[in-house]
Structures are given as C-alpha cells and as structure tokens.
C-alpha cells in the first residue's frame, strides 16, 4: 500500500468524523475543517489513481480493489462538484463515510494481479468502465440524498420536529439534488452500457449473451430509465422518486459486485 493511499484513508476517516461532529454540534468551523480534509484526501486519492494509471496504462478498475477505490474517488469528486451548486453541508456526513468504507475495503483486498487479462487492455474497456464508475458515483450520491429526503419527509409528515428536521434542508433542495444526480448519472450509465455491448460484440462476437451480469446491468438501466421517464413525463417527484432512486442503487450495487465477484 502506498504512502499516498494511507494518507487518503487517513484524510477520509478524519473528514468523516469531522462531518459527524458538524451534524451533532452545528459548528461552522468543524464543517470547514472536515471539508478541507475531504479536499486533501481527494487530491491524494487523485494522485493514487494517476500513479496507477501511468503504471498500468489503463484506468485502475480491473479488480474489486481498484474498482472500489476508483468508485470511492468518483463519489467524492461528484460530491465536491455538487457542493458548488447545492451547499448541502449535511450530506458530507454520509458521503465521507461511504468513501472511507470504499477505500478501507479496497485496502484489505488484494492488489492488482501482475498478469492482466489481455481482454482488458482495450481502450473500450477503459472508457466502458470509467464512465460506469463515474455514473455509479452520481447514483450513489442520489441514493444518499434519497435517504436524507425520506428522513426529512418522515419528520414533516409525522410532525416530529426533532434532530433531523432542524439539520436537514428543504425537501425541495433534496429533491432537485437527487434529480441533478440522476440527470448526470443516467447518460453515463447509458454510455457505459452501450460501450459494454459493443465490446461484447468485439470480443465474444455477440452483443448480448444473457449472463447474469448483463441481465442485472440491463435491469439497472431500465429502473433508472423508468425513473427518469416518470420524472420528466409524469412529473414524479418527492417520496416516490426518492424510493425508486434507492431501489435502483441497491440493484446497481448488486450488479457491481456481481461483475467483480461473480
């Protein structure tokens, strides 16, 4: 494990604690420190991935170790970009731990094998997996925002003005943030699926071979396509959209692990 990777982990862990502290005590300086730590962690993480890229010559997503690490990086990246527009400070308390979880699990998993499957050396794969990872990161954020939405919605519906009611932002903000993530994630997911299908054709000579990975990837795509359609055409928003986002992400995670463990 490189020094940079350890540094990344340390920053993420510290940042997670900082965000939890901010949610508990609502002190602005705590938030600022947590935010800076996340930035530093993200830069270190970027370094890790760049090094891996130059060493191996492809996006480091060949095994679960690399994929998890890259996914964690993408989640933080998407979050930091979204913060520019939404300033949803509480969200860090979920994003930072998720990124921490990703890098910690990645750190226990074995590193990349010395010999690479020649199938993976193609540029197609790099593009295919790269877009999927970033798209998944957007969905991960949408998932976390969806959870926050359900918590806040419950508080308002049940008229319990407690801990969360005060700390969480408006339903409107949470909903539009979830929507933004969906808008950002869906084209990437679509592009990832299309490149995957083309790649399958190139390697196996068939676009679609009905293996479970493909079936679940298809289901994931359909769920998000349905959600996007409902949002755009019927005007779905709020609770139902949040639930559907959460369901979609759970299927997506399942597909993700199926890809690397199956």
């Amino acid at each position: 494990m490189s020094v940079l990777f350890v540094l990344t982990m340390a920053c993420y862990i510290a940042s997670s604690l900082g965000y939890q502290g901010y949610v508990l005590f609502q002190k602005r300086p705590v938030y600022r420190v947590a935010s800076i730590l996340l930035w530093v962690g993200f830069l270190c993480h970027t370094g890790v991935i760049a090094l891996q890229y130059f060493k191996a010559g492809h996006v480091p997503v060949q095994n679960l170790h690399e994929a998890l690490s890259t996914f964690g990086w993408a989640v933080v990246g998407v979050f930091l970009i979204l913060q520019i527009k939404f300033h949803l400070m509480v969200l860090g308390a979920l994003v930072a731990p998720l990124a921490t979880l990703c890098v910690v699990i990645a750190s226990i998993l074995p590193g990349p094998p010395v010999e690479l499957d020649p199938l993976f050396k193609s540029l197609w794969v790099t593009v295919h997996v790269g877009t999927l990872i970033v798209g998944n990161a957007a969905f991960a954020i949408a998932f976390l925002v969806g959870i926050l939405y359900l918590i806040q919605e419950q508080a308002i519906k049940e008229k319990k003005r407690g801990f969360f009611f005060r700390r969480l932002p408006s339903l409107k903000l949470l909903d539009s943030m979830g929507y933004s993530c969906l808008i950002a994630g869906f084209p990437m997911l679509t592009f990832g699926v299309i490149t995957g299908v083309i790649y399958a054709q190139m390697v196996r000579g068939r676009f679609w071979s009905w293996d479970p990975k493909e079936i679940f990837a298809g289901i994931t795509w359909l769920v998000f396509a349905a959600l996007l359609h409902e949002r755009l055409a019927v005007g779905w928003q709020g609770r139902r959209a949040a639930i559907m986002t959460i369901v979609g992400f759970v299927i997506l995670v399942f597909t993700f692990f199926l890809r690397f463990l199956g």
């Binding site: 308002i156 339903l171 409107k172 019927v234 005007g235 928003q237 709020g238």
Partner: protein, 427 residues
C-alpha cells in the same frame, strides 16, 4: 418664549384595545399623509410620527404642551375616524419623557408585540418614520429618537435570541413551508374563509414573496374584500377543488361544522399537479381539512394543534430572551435622556437672550420717549451701547451653561437658570 419640549406617546395597542376598536382607528397607508399634514398645522405639535399596524395605533410627538397635544390628538381621532371619543378613550395610554422613550424602544425591538420577537414591526416603524420624514414632521428630537430605536432594535435582535424560534402560527407555517418548498417565492396560496390568524399567516407568506393569492369565501363579496388587500383573486367556494391543482399552500379558517376539504376532493389532483408538494394548514376549530389527507403522498396537513405544539417550546425560550432585551432598552433610555437633557441648554440660552432683549427693547422705548431732543445718531449710539452691554453680560452665563461638563449638573444649571430668570413664566 421658548419652553421645554417633551416626548409623548399617545395610542392604543392589542393589550388595551380589542380588535373592533383597533380596526376602527387604524390608518391606511394612504391616510397617513393627510394625518401628518393636518398635524403639522397644529401649533401644539412640534414633531410627529404616526404608527399604525394591525396591533397598534400610536402617535409619537414632541410638544411643548403635553395636555393640549393629547387633547388635540383625541379630538382629531374622533373627528377623522368619525367615532365618539368614548369608544376609544378608555383604551388610550399616554407616556411622557423616559416612559415614552422606553415605549418606543420596546415597540421597535418587538418587546411590546403581541408575538414577542416578531420581526415585522421594525420594518413597519421604519416605514412610518420614512413617511414622517417625507412630510417633514420630524425634527431634531424625533429624528434622534427614531434612529436610536432602530439601533436598539438591532442590538436586541442580534444580542438576544428573541427572534430565533418560531412562536406564532404564521411563523411556524412559514418555517414549515420553507422546509417543504425551500423558497416561498412564487408559491401560490389559497385562503379559505377569513379570520385574523389566517390573514396574518397569509400576510406573512406574502412578505416572504409568496403569491399569487387566491381567496375563497362563502360570501363572495367578503372574499373580494380580503383578496383586494393581498392583491389576490377571489374565487367561489365551488372552485376550490379545481384550484387545488395549482396552489401550493392552502390556509383554511372557516366556521364550517364539517370538513371543507375531503379525501375525495384530491382524486386526480396530485397527478394534475405533477406531484408537486401541497402544504395544507388548517387553522379552523372544528377542523376544515380531513386529517386523512395527510396520508396522500407529497401532501402535508397541519392543524392548529400541530402548529401550536411546534411553537410552544419556543415561547418559553423567547420570554427568557425578552428579559435581556428589556435590559438593553433600559440602558438605551438612560443614554437618550442624557442627550435629551443636553439639548435643553440651547433653548434655555435662547429663552434667556430673548427675555433680556425684551427688557432692553422696553427700556429703550421708555428712554427714547423722554429723550425727544436726541438725534437719530444718538439713538443709534444708545441702542449699540445697550446691545453690547447685554451681549457682554450674557457671554459668561452662556458659556457656563454650554460647558457644564457633567450631565446631571447640566440639567441642574439649566433648571437654576430658568428659575433665576423666571423663564418658564406663563403669559
């Protein structure tokens, strides 16, 4: 004859007068210029500001003759409002001097409000003051007093937690609305029925940029009246279900014994609204909105008890903070008094000069009458001589009064000077 001016507040508020009296005496904003212009003509009124909100009607004056000014105001109210004095005289309070100053500070800081700590009052006071400035009815005293009251209000707000917690139904409604919609800007509001609390809530939503406003009332004319006040649209009762498709916030406050909005009214509504959230506030007792409606996705129903429980815990908190606010106001009263008393030196000096000048003129007249042979030049010389004499004699006392270093001594010196030269004699 320059006399000492005094600060007086005469008026009534929600504690002294019931709403029937308040609404009869309240001045619409278009009446204010007329009131100020009329008052400017009154010799006993030196400076004046008029406050008129839904909870208070007050005149703030600087006057040399308190009792006459109070009578003038009472007569004016009775005449302008075509109301016999007996209907409101009982409710009127009159504060002078420090009490008046404290009262203004407390009003501006929202310590005297029906809902302690509500933020609207300061804006209303500022508006009243601006109006008075436009009509030049504010002089050195009230200018200073109003500016002091703004800074006291600001201090109370920032240094105490008086405005931190929602404590009124309308505040709680706005706070909840914000949690649902984020911004209230351009959120359409439907008011069903009427009533002080409901209208206050609508007013509050409007100040937070909500709108357009729709008003539904059993009697369409009454609905029109209310709608006009909020620059809204009156609709018929039968149109309510249709309007559920386009409004975002509904405030209901009717005297109906049954539900006005039932679960069945919402059939197809959410689909038509594209699932945009709908916030229903039921202020009526018995309730107007079927609580079952709360179970519809993206619809939130709050009745009066829900809102009350939301604010109860905050009220105690505010009461505590209000005590600290009172202390700030008290301190400001003392500081204002110091300034006000220092101001008295100048009129005293002027009064002194005028008195001596009067004597001089009288004596000159007498002297010239017996000096028939004196030439024009001689008369001028005598005039110059006496003038210089008076000037020289008054020089040191004037300096003495102006330079009194201690505030308490200053007012003492002013007092002694006034008595010594009998400046307060009535003519």
């Amino acid at each position: 004859m320059v006399e000492k001016r005094e600060i007086v507040v005469i008026g009534l508020n929600h504690e002294t007068a019931p709403v029937e009296v308040r609404e009869r005496l309240a001045f619409a904003s278009e009446d204010t210029p007329k009131v100020l212009e009329t008052m400017r003509q009154e010799p006993c009124v030196d400076e004046i500001v008029l406050f008129s909100t839904c909870n208070r009607v007050e005149f703030l004056l600087a006057t040399k003759d308190v009792s006459k000014a109070v009578e003038t105001i009472k007569d004016f109210l009775a005449e302008f409002k075509k109301t016999p004095r007996s209907t409101f005289e009982q409710a009127l309070y009159v504060h002078n001097g420090d009490e008046a100053v404290r009262h203004i500070f407390r009003v501006a800081s929202s310590l005297d409000s029906m809902v302690v700590g509500e933020a609207q009052i300061l804006g209303q006071i500022k508006e009243s003051y601006r109006e008075a400035c436009n009509h030049k009815t504010c002089g050195v005293i009230l200018n200073r007093l109003m500016h002091r009251s703004f800074s006291v209000a600001k201090r109370v707000r920032t240094e105490t937690g008086i405005g931190d917690h929602a404590v009124s139904i309308s505040y709680a409604a706005v706070e909840l609305g914000r949690k649902i919609f984020g911004e209230l800007e351009r959120k359409a509001v439907l008011l069903i029925g009427a009533g002080e609390m409901a209208e206050l809530a609508v007013e509050h939503l409007v100040t937070n940029h909500a709108g357009p406003i729709f008003v539904a009332n059993r009697t369409f004319e009454r609905g029109l009246e209310i709608a006009e006040r909020f620059r809204g649209t009156a609709i018929r009762f039968e149109e309510i279900p249709d309007h559920l498709k386009q409004v975002d916030i509904v405030i209901s406050s009717t005297g109906a014994p049954d539900y006005i909005l039932r679960h069945s009214d919402f059939k197809g509504v959410m689909r038509a609204r594209k699932n945009r959230p709908l916030f229903l506030i039921d202020i009526a007792v018995p309730r107007d909105i079927d609580p079952e409606i709360n179970r519809i996705t993206n619809v939130y129903v709050y009745d009066i008890d829900d809102l009350k429980s939301a604010i109860e815990e905050n009220i105690e908190e505010r009461r505590h903070e209000a005590c600290r606010g009172e202390r700030i106001a008290d301190g400001a009263v003392v500081r204002f008094r110091r300034w006000f008393q220092s101001l008295d030196v100048v009129p005293t000096i002027i009064a002194l000069r005028e008195k001596i000048e009067e004597i001089r003129q009288a004596e000159l007249k007498k002297t010239f009458a017996s000096l028939a042979w004196a030439s024009e030049e001689d008369r001028a010389a005598i005039d110059r001589l006496t003038g210089a004499l008076v000037k020289k004699i008054l020089h040191d006392p004037t300096l003495f009064l102006k330079q009194s270093e201690h505030e308490d001594k200053k007012s003492l010196h002013v007092d002694v000077t006034r008595r010594m030269f009998n400046l307060d004699e009535k003519d």
